[in-house]
Amino acid sequence: MTSTVDTPADTPKAATPSGLVAVARAPGWVRYALLALGLAAAAWLPNGLYPAVAVDILCWALFAVAVDLLLGFTGLMSFGHAAFWGTSAYVTGLVAIHAGLPFPLAVLAGALAAAVLAVPIGYLAVKRTGIYFAMVTLAFAQMVYYVANEWRSVTQGENGLQGVPRELFGWDLTDDYYFYYAILPIVLLGLAAAWRIVHSPFGRVLVGIRDNPARARALGYPVHRYKLTAFVLSGFIAGLGGGLFAVGHRFVSLDVLHWTTSGKAVIVVVLGGIGTLWGGVLGAGIVVRLEDWLSFSGFEAIGLVTGGIFVLVVVLFRRGIWGSASALARRLAARRR
């Protein structure tokens, strides 16, 4: 913890991933138009898409936004967020099965459990930054995976937790079409919360910490505690997504905790655009839809396509879809002026 300050390894402070994109400051009417468009798209989605896929997109959107909250706005790349997504999925499932609560309450319980788990993991992980942070979170998530795997009496191990009910005051939500609309408000609430966090005084401090932690400390900000808080908030939102995912599939498998799930979340965020928040939503839509389509196309190597796209994005469009689009828009606007 102690280390020199006046003599930091003065490697040119490479642009943080997020540093590429400042929070877009589009004119007001553009932002409202986009918001309206987004809401309309969300309301229409299950009519144009297989409803089960639409439900998955919603859940992954929350997950991606949670990851971006850390990556884009705190400069911490969690490669182990499956731990929170998955833990919430299990807790949600168990609560729904054993306590028979309506699903929103079960999901809330799951998200809280994820947040609680985020405290010890975050406490250890925020001691490291950058690439170390990614590795440490990855490793701890793998640990959670093993625990879930071994704790068979609770999690049913490899068989997965079967028969998670979709209970909401006696309404029949077995049809994914209606279920989609049942969870939409929860998801929107989660997204709004993420947006609020980013645009709060707290969010500003996080950006400062991301760019120069030592400086932030000298200003009197307890950096570790801020990062930890961000981590826990992010865990909670990821948990919200994971819980809904469990109810959506009426079932929880070990895969929700696997490192490939964490990796996929990061892919989604990078594709959408780091530090753009809504890019994650877009990325979730694209990736989930693409995987769905690929697995039906008979093409065996899904990883080849997702991995390939990912490599292209990292090499060529680091701003991601949203980031590139808003940069383009800004450039056009500047030219017109």
């Binding site: 913890m1 102690t2 280390s3 020199t4 300050v5 006046d6 003599t7 930091p8 003065d10 402070k13 540093g19 400042a22 609020r196 966090i197 645009h199 709060s200 005084p201 707290f202 969010g203 500003r204 401090v205 950006v207 400062g208 760019d211 120069n212 030592a214 400086r215 932030a216 400390r217 000298a218 200003l219 009197g220 900000y221 307890p222 950096v223 801020y226 808080t229 908030l233």
Partner: protein, 253 residues
Amino acid sequence: MTGQALLSARGLTRDFRGFRAVDEVDLDVAPESVHALVGPNGAGKTTLFNLLTGFLRPSGGRIELAGRDVTGLPPEQVARLGVARSFQITSLFPQLSAREHVALALQSSSGLGWRFWRSAKLMGRYTERADELLAMVGLSELAEAPSESLAYGRKRALELAIALALDPKVLLLDEPTAGMGLEDVDRTVELISRVRQGRTVVMVEHNMSVVGRLADTVTVLQAGKVLVEGPYEQVRADERVITAYLGAADAAH
């Protein structure tokens, strides 16, 4: 004795893998004084700063702030007790504008930073004060520019504005005029003499004319130890200081 001093150190020591950078230093900074630390390069001035501000943990000794033991507190807590510092090698948030820097500093003493459920627009309340501070250090026109695009001298000025924004009881400045042109140096000296009212300033400075104009007390460090301490004129004339630090008289201008 320590009853008098606002900030004091007793037997303060710091080792780096067997190398002793600060060696049993006793230091008493009187309230509302300007206390200069000078000494050859590598004497341990910056290290001493880092110890006093919590960025380094002492290997031995004790630090008191207004009679309270602050040894080993982390930097953010030291800062909250009213100790602000600038960095010798500039240390800013590259993406943030000058104004945002100052606003962040102004905010830190309030609990606002924790309000993740409130709007960032609340920070607008600091704009006015931030612009005042930026004007003080001559950065008014550059308030919107991201700090990474500022030339070196401007960054130093911003460092100072940030430290001031914390409205500290104790202000620790590490070479505040290094890399500045004379005009800026003058402005900075003038600025420091303005803000010292009601504050205690500790500064590291190689520019002896700056030291002469500001300091009430000068402590000369050498090889981690206190060599001489006293008023400027006395220290300046000290044989040991001349051989160890000042060299031939023409160096100071």
